[in-house]
Symmetry: C2
Subunit: 325 residues, 2 copies
């Protein structure tokens, strides 16, 4: 930068202003400076810029699992907003078993991002709250009390999914549950409430976030003497695992066994998948999360914000009446 300034016959400060399109530098001088910079192969150093500017322009983004299309949807939503507001994104990725969450958040904090937009955190409410005291955080797809959150009513979604299956005539409905953790119990509760309301005994089968493992669990379930006629999976990735298991057993989704997922991630609408699911609307959650982050960056002291959407059922081809009804 020093060199550019010297070669252009101006001060370093002016070079800085020119590169940032700041006003206070005449068009002619700016063009000249940029031309000289180009000539000398000067590339501004963002690290130095961040340090010097006490950085408030970039947001951290935590995405739990790149193999889950929902997080690609959320990322799309976030970037749609941040691109428009010319905010940079610092992205970190979790791990399927949730062991990366705290480390990723620490990284973002150490990078001094203005706000962390976290999608799919599996840490406890308490840990998340503590974390958000240090660097403001927006939780996406999860409600964390005391922390800005953009979420959807999971209990309601669980009710919708289960009631849909009940209305189709199913009585033997299993729920493939994710590992229990703060903030991810609503779907299970919705399922159990709906079952109880129908006078049925819930059948909650513990499972994981891995498509393969859900498939394995489902195969066992299907092979049992009391196999359910319908399966509600805690998310779409799980539902894909269920569909895998049905394929392995040569069963047709929606005919032999009904399947409901959760998320409406973009894969679920593909004709070849055609999964009945609950619409979480990842792109919208991402957009709103980013907008909330912008608000939070403006006023760090404001009360925690909360947006809760009411999810809807999207009925597609993987659900139908049980055999013999």
């Amino acid at each position: 930068m020093e060199d550019v300034a010297a070669a252009a016959g101006v001060s370093r400060a002016l070079v800085s202003l020119a590169y940032r399109n700041a006003h206070g530098v005449s068009d002619t001088t700016r063009d000249r400076i940029l031309a000289v910079g180009e000539d000398l192969g000067y590339v501004p150093n963002r690290v130095a810029a961040r340090l010097a500017s006490r950085e408030t322009r970039s947001f951290g983004v935590f995405l739990q699992d790149l193999h889950n299309d929902l997080f690609a949807d959320i990322h799309d939503g976030i970037r749609g907003v941040t691109d428009e507001h010319s905010r940079e994104l610092v992205i970190t990725v979790g791990a399927l078993d949730g062991t990366h969450d705290l480390r990723s958040l620490a990284t973002l904090q150490e990078t001094r991002v203005a706000v962390i937009i976290a999608a799919g955190l599996t840490i406890s409410d308490a840990d998340a709250l503590a974390q958000s005291k240090r660097t403001p955080m927006v939780a996406v797809a999860r409600h964390i009390p005391g922390v800005d959150s953009v979420t959807s009513d999971n209990l309601h979604g669980g009710l919708l999914a289960t009631e849909h299956l009940l209305e189709l005539g199913h009585r033997s409905i299993a729920f493939l549950a994710n590992p229990p953790s703060d903030g991810y119990l609503g779907r299970r509760e919705g399922y159990e409430q709906a079952m109880h309301a129908a006078g049925l005994e819930p059948r909650t089968v513990p499972s994981t976030f891995s498509r393969l493992e859900v498939a394995a669990t489902t195969v066992q379930l299907l092979d049992a003497s009391d196999a359910p006629t319908a399966i509600f999976a805690h998310n779409d990735v799980g539902a894909l695992g269920v569909l895998d298991a049905l394929a392995a057993r040569n069963l047709t989704p929606g005919v032999d066994v009904s399947v409901v997922g959760y998320d409406n991630s973009s894969v679920s609408s593909a004709p070849g998948t055609d999964l009945t699911t609950i619409n979480l609307n990842g792109p919208m959650l991402g957009r709103e999360g980013a907008l909330m982050a912008i608000q939070r960056a403006i006023d760090p002291e404001a009360e925690p914000m909360l947006i809760t959407h009411l999810p809807e059922l999207i009925s597609r081809g993987t659900t139908g009446a049980p055999r013999g009804v």
Copy 2:
């Protein structure tokens, strides 16, 4: 940091060393320093650290499309290596239409990463080469002359896929091609060579990287009077689009129409998808790309490196003999 040093009764330099687990700090002092830091709520500033250390420890990662499982695979492979070597990752994401590539590379360059690991770049060879002169680059899943590359022989893969279909007895085989660009023509050439060798006329249908758009193109193809009996898609995402189209027309993959993908991204092996494909081995490409980046960081002047794998066919359920054979 100043405060921590004062409170612990040591110098700033020692605090720095303590936080980096560097040797030259006695265990007791380090523990004391960390305790004091914890007390004061001190969080080291990575931005400052990067600037001060003239940064050579972090790698930039460019992933073209988060909706494509291949890039999740590649990311997994990269992180497996970089976690072990305690290298940080700065991640940027492209856009389906390739318009984000240059901007993402510029961002990584401005962030002064040691090496950029780029997966799925769609810019021209010339642009990529020019870019790599500024910041060393490793191209993953693509060979760029003059740039470190970890790739797979796409022409060979195209041959394998087509020959597989020919051996099954297919004569009417269409290739759904990606938009033409440097470095992504091998699969098409392999297809065309194999067709010519069999005395058949290639039928290359232009398409895109979007699952939805490939599905739409395929539906048209299936509805034509001269619909092919087999379809080879330029990648797995495309093949999923083809499967979508088959589902929409109530056709069974591997029975009514055979489908071959390309990548063997982790979705393709799911029992419910069970896609015949060419194994690109994303996790391995990622690992090798990361290892190559480490080499490159050590010796920026070494000759460009190139690893080319010979891909293999993975025959699964979406291919079979054509009807009537």
